[in-house]
């Protein structure tokens, strides 16, 4: 039980993510979380505005069910399967983030400097979340997939487009982390 409550090492987690993908493939589906964004827009009536949202969303209910499960899984993992360990980040990461004004680095999954309501209620705070979410939604649909669809499933299926997309993920992620985050938080 002790091993379950502690954070899981990469060599346990990675294979379990592969198992998640393989189960979905075995069930005759695929592992792609960002498709749900398109489905939710379609359910919300976006088909009135673009063909992109005009499809039979009911055929995607299985994937929305995966999302529902994922939310429940997040709840179970934090409520019943965690011992409250601090995330064992590298000391470089911790000291860099301290210098950028982050405190209690790794004590929670997400930094309160971005996600606490106190910060969200400021113009800067809500702008960060809205811009970040917008870029994720727009980018993933433009690229036709996200980490699960391209980085895990696409690469596993040896798809060159997925490799190009993952290179794109890193171009964007590196520019943001190296150059833009210090401007947002360092000032």
């Amino acid at each position: 039980m002790e091993y379950i409550l502690q954070p899981w090492p990469w060599y346990v987690s990675g294979p379990l993510i592969a198992f998640t993908m393989l189960m979905l493939v075995y069930f005759g589906k695929t592992f792609g979380m960002s498709s749900n964004l398109q489905t939710l827009c379609s359910i919300g009536g976006a088909g009135k505005y673009s063909d992109y949202f005009r499809f039979d969303w009911k055929a995607q209910r299985w994937n929305l069910t995966v999302v529902l499960g994922a939310i429940i899984g997040g709840f179970i993992a934090t409520q019943f399967l965690s011992d409250g360990s601090t995330i064992a980040l590298s000391s470089e990461t911790i000291s860099e983030l301290n210098n950028l004004g982050f405190n209690g680095v790794g004590e929670s999954l997400l930094p309160p400097e971005i996600y606490s309501w106190e910060n969200v209620m400021s113009v800067k705070g809500i702008s960060i979340l809205v811009i970040a979410g917008f870029l994720v939604g727009f980018g993933t649909r433009y690229a036709g997939g996200c980490t699960s669809g391209h980085a895990i499933t696409g690469l596993s299926n040896l798809q060159l487009p997925s490799l190009i997309a993952v290179i794109g993920f890193f171009i964007g992620g590196l520019i943001m982390t190296f150059f833009i985050l210090p401007l947002i938080f360092g000032a």
Binding site: L16, L37, Q38, G44, L135, T140, H150, P161, F170
Partner: protein, 137 residues
Amino acid sequence: MKFLKFLLVGIFFGIVLVKSEAVSWYRIYEMFKFQSFHMYGIIGSAVFLGVLFIWIFKKYKVKSIEGKDIDLAPKDKGVTRYILGGTIFGFGWALAGACPGPMYILVGTGVFSMFIVIAAALLGTFIYGLLQNKLPH
């Protein structure tokens, strides 16, 4: 019940991503700074096993649970949409620290401000849908 297996896979996925800390903003920052092997180990081992098992599925023509051929649709050819879309996604991923799976999982962990990110992601998806025919792909 037909949907139960998908619910269970989702629950499993949510638990794994929390316990692996792959849903943590800090881990994403650390990954993009190349300061730890953790995330690379997770993605690398997942892809390594994924390649191996997808190859086995194809070689031995493994049938799905419904008895059909396993058919992973190849991605459309192209470069522009993948590199541009991927880069835009990367900006958002590194800023939010969450991609479209973790967004939902983090709501389950009790971070309700994540609903703002999800709503904005839906808006981004909607705008992409409007502009799809005008963007280079």
